[in-house]
Amino acid sequence: MRRREVLKLGAAAAAVATSGVKAQESSGGLEGLWPVAQAVLPASIGADGHREALAAFMAWIRDHHAGRYLDHGYGHTRVAKSGAAPTATYNVQLQALEAAARRRNGKAFGALDLVARRALIAEAFAALKIDSTEGRPSGKHVAADLMSHYFSSAEANDVCYEAEIGRDSCRALEGSGLRPEPLAKGRAS
């Protein structure tokens, strides 16, 4: 990832992690990512949930390293390296959403209601033939990647099943046979 891009999105991540929702909504540093998050993430996880999901996504972007060997698999093996961080593409895509909002609705993307925002995002997905969420961000579109990052997380898995599954968490063998506890109060509605 290039340094300027890191700084731009890194500032956004820091803002997301430390500021209140109101501040985020008016923050120019987010470059359109916050209203995207509001449009694609479940409202039921609340503003705190959005903030955490966005912070985790920004951390994922920040810690992405290009040129690392990927898992070479088993059965049908392949040797491949990670590509460049998709930050530059993300910024272009966020700008495109903003331009479309102003052109179509005469308003900033963040000023549109959720239905209008989602319509624009759906158009962008359709143009890129994005039909599914993936196990991890693929770089096709920033909104799809944010969705992939959140919905493939252990957090979202717990929210979906409304249970404290804690996928990929290390825990004791003891209690293996028990049904997971219901989701702790406050983790979802």
């Binding site: 060997y69 049908h76 969420t133 979202a156």
Partner: protein, 535 residues
């Protein structure tokens, strides 16, 4: 570039699980021997970084074993690129099923393939030994045919809530299932390793609960029982000018220096696994051995084996919570046996939890995009009260003579050596019963799916042979095999092939425990052999 000569009593070529087991047993029985393990790849002993590698693997799909392969040291048809100290067993799943008596008597019982030159009772003893070495936990088998002479070293991995639910479902078919035995600590401290913490990433176990050969190598090195020459690729074995003894191995350093090393030893053990052992024998062709070493039979690189597989995903009425130790599975050994009077079909039967068709989706049935709570609601709806099991059979299939590893002249490494090319071919009787195999599996799947409103979502037939072996098959007849039952080559008194390459047939369940059992048996024989001077 420099050249050096190293003399030893025993050289093990290839540093995976076979080498770890062989070196441990050999140096236990013959502590005075100078024993050197030579491995092309590097050692990955940075256990302290494993949790971090795991995190990168989960988040970014990065190789959880950084540096565990050599880019130009690969070949077509090889199912793992792993080339490092510890080999593929650094990232194996730890599944340690035994084969069954039938595997060793296919010719006698069914008129198929060949019998192994080993008695089941002999092998069973080494299975117990292997289970102790690897630290295996398992359930005592309820089938009398699976009787064990010793209990498992550790209790079985407890069934997760999901597996308990799936066991209830699957046994409604009348087929009994048990916890799959695994080389994962269910007791804290066994062999100095931690108890399993169900981290859900057995392929990179961050706690050390799952056995991997680095544990053995580190101990052997600490106790100064072996020397480990990693990043050293053996390119040729060289026989004596007039006798059939192997006198040296020629190697090159894979550390960027290009330095060369000659190893002179009394005994050479090939411990490089199913691909690289045959490969080295073929690569060493020349002079009096134009077809390669140990190859008077012409069978080096032939009868490459493994098992085929069919996987089916079945949805049924149940509530699972995917992600709670989902690498653990159920197994039934009900179909390891086949009455000689019945059409031949043998296989294991495994059941896992699965998330197939139960993940979040971006579009609904009508093709509309889903966002936010609509996506979550759709996801929830599809996971409430309906769950998916992955059911897999490993089928006993038998290799044809033309199931081969050959040297691929069009694919060479930086040193100019041809890389291996593996093309599996099944023998005529196996091909003739393929449709019957499929029909049998399909009927079993239907039987499973009858319970709890089951429905088959997807069927997939594997397009490679799993848990491969062969290439240097064992036997008593030097014209029909490469090595004897201990792995000693028929053609060279001081050259042995250990582990997976020696299997005549691949069984119908995971092979590692069998590779290890055979290796321990071989190592004892090597230890008992008279010391052979290096020159």
């Amino acid at each position: 570039m420099t050249h050096r000569k190293v003399e030893a009593d025993v050289i093990l070529i290839g540093g995976g699980i076979t080498a770890a087991m062989a070196a441990a047993r050999l140096t236990e029985r013959r502590p005075g021997l100078r024993t050197i393990v030579v491995e092309a790849g590097q050692r990955l002993f940075d256990f302290e970084n494993r949790m971090g590698y795991r995190e990168r693997y989960l988040a970014y799909g990065e190789n959880p074993w950084p540096g565990d392969f050599i880019e130009d040291q690969g070949g077509q048809g090889i199912i793992s690129r792993s080339m490092a100290v510890g080999g593929a067993a650094m990232h194996w799943g730890g599944v340690t099923n035994r084969f069954s008596r039938e595997d060793t008597r296919l010719r006698s019982l069914y008129g198929l393939a060949v019998d192994w030159p080993i008695e089941w009772e002999d092998l069973e003893r080494y299975y117990c030994d292997a289970e102790r070495q690897l630290g295996v936990g398992g359930e005592e088998p309820p089938l009398p045919e699976d009787k064990r002479s010793e209990p498992y070293p550790m209790p079985a991995m407890p069934l997760s809530y999901n597996l308990k639910t799936l066991k209830t479902w699957s046994e409604k078919s009348g087929i009994p299932f048990w916890a799959t035995p695994a080389a994962k600590n269910t007791v804290d401290g066994y062999d100095g390793r931690s108890i399993c913490k169900r981290c859900n990433t057995c392929e990179v176990c961050p706690t050390g609960a799952r056995y991997s050969p680095d544990w053995t190598f580190k101990k052997l090195l600490e106790q100064k029982r072996i020397e480990l020459h990693d990043r050293t690729l053996v390119r040729r074995l060289v026989p004596h000018d007039t006798t059939n003894r192997i006198v040296r191995a020629e190697a090159v350093k894979e550390d960027g220096t290009g330095d060369t090393v000659t190893y002179e030893a009394g005994t050479f053990l090939l411990t490089g696994g199913y691909a690289w052992s045959s490969h080295l024998l073929l690569l060493s062709a020349g002079g009096r051995f134009p077809n390669g070493l140990a190859n008077n039979s012409g069978l080096v690189g032939r009868y490459m084996t493994g098992h085929s597989f069919i996987q089916v995903w079945i949805e049924m009425d149940a509530q699972l919570y995917p992600g709670m130790n989902d690498q653990h599975s159920l197994i039934s050994r009900q179909f390891f046996r086949c009455a000689p009077s019945s059409p031949f079909v043998r296989h294991d039967l495994r059941v896992w939890e699965s998330s197939l068709a139960k993940g979040p989706r971006l579009k609904n049935e009508s093709g509309a995009y889903l966002f936010g709570d609509d996506l979550l609601a759709d996801w929830r709806k599809r996971t409430r009260g309906r769950a998916v099991a992955r059911v897999r059979t490993y089928l006993d299939v038998h290799p044809d003579r033309e199931s081969r590893l050959t040297l691929d002249r069009g694919n060479r490494n930086r040193w100019g050596d041809s890389m291996p090319r593996i093309e599996h071919r099944l023998d005529a009787p196996t091909l003739a019963r393929r449709d019957a195999d499929r029909t049998h599996v399909s009927a079993l799947v239907d039987r499973l799916a009858r319970a709890d409103n089951g429905r088959v979502l997807r069927t997939n037939e594997g397009d490679y042979l799993d848990h491969p072996g062969g290439g240097c098959r064992m036997g008593t007849d030097p014209a029909a095999s490469v090595v004897d039952s201990y792995g000693r080559t028929h053609d060279h008194e001081n050259l042995w092939v250990l582990g997976s390459p020696t299997l005549p047939t691949g069984g119908c369940t995971n092979g590692t425990l069998t590779f290890v059992a055979l290796t321990l048996r071989s190592a004892e024989k090597v230890a008992g052999a008279p010391a052979i001077p290096s020159r």
